[in-house]
């Protein structure tokens, strides 16, 4: 294999890794904080991409890419915030909250997906990327925009980590995640904090959705694939630390792009699931962590 091909595959793997990291972190943050698995995460990715696409259309004013990103992220944050009160809050006192949340979030995913289908139709759309030029990277010709995506994804994750560690608000979020009862006795408004967490998760999903939508085409059901990949990433990496799913995301991204080249596109999901099963058998707490979940 030529070096430039290798670099090309590696770079596309790293780019995928960055996108998966963004999506999986959103999922992991909800899992560690709310203690439920959000199956509507893929639908958030879809809806985020569609909102951004709509904003760039002449009908809606034909705004630029940046405005579209900001609008979409804001809208999805608000939606996530509201959806907590609709999907998870009503069931939180039931002992089967985890199961009920699976059903309610799956229902929400289905509703959002079909809502998108009704509103925007089944045809593929693409968000026009703001940068079209290609650059030569160690012999491989790579989209300049890919580097922007990677940088923005990592920056967003870094900003989120800083928010959680350094600001009082972020610290109260972590407190509510680690010990709900103690947080309530401290007078923290736990449902509101949980809603903010779901909002942040939806906002990162939207960002990822926009990036995917400007690399490939979007259609009403394209969120299913990101959801599945984030699930694999979260299981592979574990949630012991904020960074665990991020490392796992790059492992998955690179493994996927190499397997797509060597084994063919149809085999890469099989390989990823095989990796997931192997990890579940050998180190069920995830590759990057111990038996705990934290934020």
């Amino acid at each position: 294999m030529a070096f430039d091909t290798f670099m090309f595959i590696l770079m596309s793997g790293i780019l995928l890794g960055g996108l998966y990291a963004l999506m999986a972190t959103g999922l992991a943050v909800v899992w560690t904080t709310l203690g439920v698995f959000n199956f509507a995460h893929g639908a958030f990715v879809t809806l985020g991409a569609y909102v951004a696409w709509q904003v760039t259309q002449p009908v809606a004013g034909g705004f630029g890419f940046m405005i579209a990103v900001l609008m979409s992220v804001t809208v999805m944050f608000c939606l996530g915030f509201v959806l907590h009160f609709a999907l998870i809050k009503p069931f939180e006192r039931n002992q089967n909250v985890v199961l009920l949340a699976v059903i309610s979030t799956l229902a929400a995913a289905s509703i959002i997906e079909n809502g998108v289908l009704l509103t925007w139709g089944p045809r593929d759309k693409q968000i026009t990327p703001p940068i079209g030029s290609r650059i030569n990277f160690f012999g491989a010709s790579i989209n300049a925009f890919d580097f922007v995506i990677l940088a923005v994804a990592l920056l967003a994750l870094f900003a989120l980590a800083l928010f959680l560690r350094r600001t009082t608000m972020g610290r109260t979020l972590r407190a509510a995640a680690q010990n709900r009862e103690a947080a309530e006795l401290m007078g923290l408004d736990v449902p509101r904090l949980f809603a903010i967490t779901l909002g942040i998760s939806a906002a990162t999903a939207a960002l990822a959705g926009i990036f995917v939508g400007s690399l490939r085409f979007i259609n009403p059901s394209f969120g299913a694939d990101p959801l599945m990949k984030s699930l694999i990433v979260v299981i592979l990496g574990g949630v012991a630390r904020f960074t665990s799913p991020i490392y796992a995301a790059f492992v998955v991204g690179i493994a996927e792009s190499f397997s797509a080249y060597f084994l063919g596109l149809y085999w890469s999901p099989a390989l990823l699931f095989a990796m997931m099963i192997a990890v579940l058998l050998i180190k069920p707490e995830g590759l990057f962590g111990h038996r705990s979940k934290t934020l």
């Binding site: 039931n94 680690q178 009862e181 401290m186 705990s292």
Partner: protein, 261 residues
Amino acid sequence: MTAALLELRGLTGGYPPVSVFRDVNLTIKPGEHVGFFGPNGHGKTTLLKTIAGVLDPWDGGIYFEGNRLNAEGAMQARVSHNLNYDLFRKRRIKARDVVDAGLIYVMQGNLLFPEMTVEEVLDIAPRAARGRPGVGQMRRQIHDLFPRLRERWQSKVRYLSGGERQMVSIAVGLLAMPRLLMLDEPTLGLSPKLRIELSQAVQNIRETGVPLIIVDQNVEFLTSLVDRLILFDHGTVTREIPAENMPDHAQLMEMMFGGAH
């Protein structure tokens, strides 16, 4: 009516369907330090958790500075076995309202937030103060009260010893600028040396004028700190002992169990 700080009227509660304490009547006056003593499993912690709003009271009233904290009337018994029954049932007391009123509960053997550093925990604690003044001064006081914490400032709570964790819990309670502070078994699992250290700290807190309710199994610790001792047995208050005739360990055992222990 004299202005009571905390008043319980016929308070009944527990973990449905098991009733743990019944018909508890109690008045705590401003500036008073009260100790609770009783055997394990007789409802002291459950009572405090109910007052703090963690558990729903079944019946009776909790009044703090004249304001009722829980909903009026008795709790309805569970009328359906539907799994979703609980979803439609309203909470009868909210922990946030209790904290807002300034009634702060320091949990027993509190794990707090295992992955946060002492600094981070004490940074968010004043949120509970709801703008009651004096947080800045209290921050400085915390350093004097618990000099040990300064050495562990950047350690995660997970890595603290039981005593240090207890100190963080109490510091968190103090930073909420409590109008009444409830300490639940602060000496649980502490070595005698640490117990003396903690006793000194609680003594200092006492001198700052914060009214206290202390639940503890250690008679010497308790009697040295409180003005009034309340014996709690079989889920209700059985006896109140004023400061003048504070018993020692042997006398207390005699009173409660009627024999030498």
